[in-house]
């Protein structure tokens, strides 16, 4: 009963946020908040591979790029026409609500496929070689997209349909985005803390031992990689639809490094750590804006200093789950994990 009430309350808050925030906040804050949402989802999805399965991927931005470009292409080439065709049949908000999941799922599915194609060969490699291969794949994906003229190539891709000038394909409300981010984070954490999810952590702790108790390690690794890519794709789709314009420069290896920084700084193997680090590090350059030219220097110094002071990351492998969020069934286990 309590869970249901909480869920309703959360939904109400998200709808209120969706309607109210764009009216009261100026676009600058809206952009920062939506970038935080994207960063959180990217970080949590990478945490599944890097933190829980113990593999080291540094090409996550490539999968975000796939999600962003496929979702944007769906919206521009097909979605705009559908929205225009149904415009008279349904009220605008209902139409948008119905269409909202379409590009996200398309982007996520495309990224998951890309993750499967990259994961099967790459995950045979171990340690640093795996990291280097993912870096290479991420860059190949980015440069390949750069050379596809149908999605704008070097000009980038703008989310507008020339045939339907009045139509806005962007999501302005934050509620819908944060709803998707919260749902995805919930799915990932239920996955890794489920009984089946023990396989991920077993592979992380000791691959040989995991194999000896009958875990198909390569299969588990590929599964983690595909699920992680799916949510990276969703993050990319959210990014594309909240920014309204995408360019491959946003998905270079520097972006991948940034996501790795979120994961390691938050604590490898901590979902709450990844969320906190992603939010803090995305907001930090903006909060430091008063310092003018010095802000990025201070940002880098803070990054180095935090890592020197807490090499295990902010949270280590611990999670922080407030009591009201724990279901009764889960509470004793979470307490035992401490």
């Amino acid at each position: 009963m309590r869970e249901r009430a909480l869920l309703l309350l959360a939904l109400g808050l998200l709808v209120a946020a969706d309607v109210l925030l764009p009216r009261v906040l100026n676009p600058y804050y809206l952009t920062i908040l939506s970038r935080i949402g994207v960063a959180v989802l990217a970080a949590v999805s990478l945490q599944l591979v890097n933190g829980f399965t113990g593999q080291f991927s540094i090409g996550h931005a490539g999968f975000m790029a796939v999600g962003a470009y496929v979702s944007a292409a769906v919206s521009v080439h097909a979605g705009a026409a559908w929205l225009a065709a149904w415009a008279d049949a349904l009220p605008a908000w209902a139409l948008r609500a119905c269409y909202f999941p379409v590009p996200l799922l398309a982007g996520g599915a495309a990224a998951a496929l890309a993750g499967l194609a990259v994961g099967i060969p790459a995950l045979r490699l171990r340690g640093d070689y795996l990291a280097i291969a993912t870096l290479g794949f991420g860059e190949i994906i980015r440069i390949a997209i750069l050379n596809v003229d149908a999605v704008g190539g070097a000009r980038g891709l703008s989310l507008s349909a020339p045939a339907h000038p009045g139509l806005d394909l962007r999501y302005e409300g934050l509620g819908a985005m944060y709803g998707v981010v919260a749902l995805s984070v919930a799915v990932i954490s239920r996955l890794v803390y489920s009984t089946g999810g023990l396989a991920f952590r077993a592979v992380r702790e000791d691959e040989t031992a995991a194999e000896s108790v009958g875990i198909a390690t390569t299969r588990v690794k590929v599964e983690a990689f595909v699920v992680s890519s799916f949510f990276a794709g969703v993050a990319g789709a959210l990014f594309a639809h909240s920014e309204g314009y995408i360019h491959t420069n946003s998905f270079s290896f520097l972006r991948s490094f940034e996501i790795v920084v979120f994961v390691v700084l938050g604590g490898l193997g901590s979902i709450t750590g990844a969320i906190l680090a992603a939010a803090l590090l995305t907001a930090a350059p903006e909060l430091l804006r008063g310092l003018g030219e010095w802000r990025m220097i201070l940002y880098s110094v803070l990054l180095i200093a935090t890592m020197l002071l807490r090499p295990q990351g902010l949270f280590g492998q611990r999670e922080f789950v407030p009591g009201w969020l724990r279901s009764r069934r889960e509470a004793p286990r979470a307490a035992a994990r401490g």
Binding site: A131, I132, G136, F137, I140, I143, N147, M296, S300, P311
Partner: protein
């Protein structure tokens, strides 16, 4: 055919620069098992140091080999000191605390960001033009293939530095210590090798080579800016992996190979794929021969 040989020559010159940067990656990886992502930015600082020195000392106005040599040496010294500082401040404290291998990777990214952003503040974000320390003219022209004296200087310097490194690593006590530490650091420590000093020395050597690469790139490709280290840095790292990371002759061969492949692809296919080809080669090597061209296969102990 002439065109091909000309491209090959250009590729080798460019590859020599990659090789110099790749050596720094591979040596640091050898002793620390750390991918030093800040290395590309040390190369940028090398080029910038050369730019300011050449203007301050008047070498820019009167090109001479003497001016080039002084610029090269001073810049190598400055970057050697920078490399040592980075190791002392960002990596050694983590090593002493026994932090895993990932924390230093993040401080490396932090140092890289720090150098780039400080570079943009100090040097300005707009590109600068590296002074021509050698007056460009054609040195040899043979059957349609021409070698400019700039290319000759770049190649000769790169080769001389690599030969010098080979001498240091193979023939000196310090070089033996480097090899011992990269073979087995704890065992080397037990044999009385001062591991921390050797690591520091490795950083100094690698950073000095990166500085030399920065000067040479300034000569052959004069546009320099604070973010110039990002792409060559990552490509030189690919070159190091090509040759087998941790392997010194491998880094030299990998750098030359990557330079040649890139130049040929840019010349014959399309320059937009120039950046992608490095990574395609990387993936191919990793899947076919994960330890690189020169790397020995490793068996994992259980």
């Amino acid at each position: 055919m002439e065109n091909f040989l000309q491209q090959l020559l250009n590729g080798i010159t460019w590859g020599g620069i990659y090789a110099l940067i790749a050596l720094g990656y591979t040596m640091v990886y050898g002793v620390l098992k750390l991918i030093n992502f800040a290395h590309g930015d040390v190369y940028m600082v090398g080029a910038m140091t050369g730019y300011y020195l050449a203007h301050a000392a008047g070498f820019a106005a009167h090109p001479s080999l003497y001016g080039l040599a002084v610029t090269l040496l001073v810049s190598m010294a400055v970057c050697g000191a920078l490399g040592a500082t980075i190791e002392r401040v960002a990596y050694r404290p983590l090593r002493l605390r026994g932090a895993g291998r990932l924390a230093p990777l993040i401080t490396a990214i932090g140092v890289s960001l720090l150098l780039e952003n400080t570079g943009q503040l100090v040097f300005g974000a707009d590109p600068k033009f590296f002074p021509a320390l050698v007056e460009s003219r054609e040195l040899v022209s043979l059957g349609g293939i021409s070698l400019s004296n700039v290319q000759a200087v770049v190649l000769a310097t790169a080769l001389a530095l690599m030969a010098g490194l080979e001498f240091v690593v193979m023939r000196t006590r310090f070089g033996r210590a480097i090899r011992a530490v990269s073979f087995d650091a704890p065992a080397a420590a037990l044999m009385g090798v001062p591991v921390d000093r050797v690591i520091l020395g490795t950083f100094v050597l690698g950073s000095a080579l990166a500085a030399a690469a920065g000067i040479l790139v300034g000569l052959s490709n004069p546009k320099i800016d604070p973010l110039m280290g990002i792409m060559p840095g990552i490509k030189a790292f690919v070159a190091a992996v090509l040759g087998g990371i941790g392997n010194i002759p491998g880094a030299m061969a990998g750098g030359l190979l990557l330079g040649v492949i890139e130049t040929l692809v840019a010349g014959y296919l399309s320059s937009t794929y120039r950046d992608a080809i490095a990574f395609v080669v990387l993936i191919a090597i990793l899947l076919l021969r994960p330890t690189g061209l020169f790397g020995a296969p490793q068996t994992e102990k259980v």
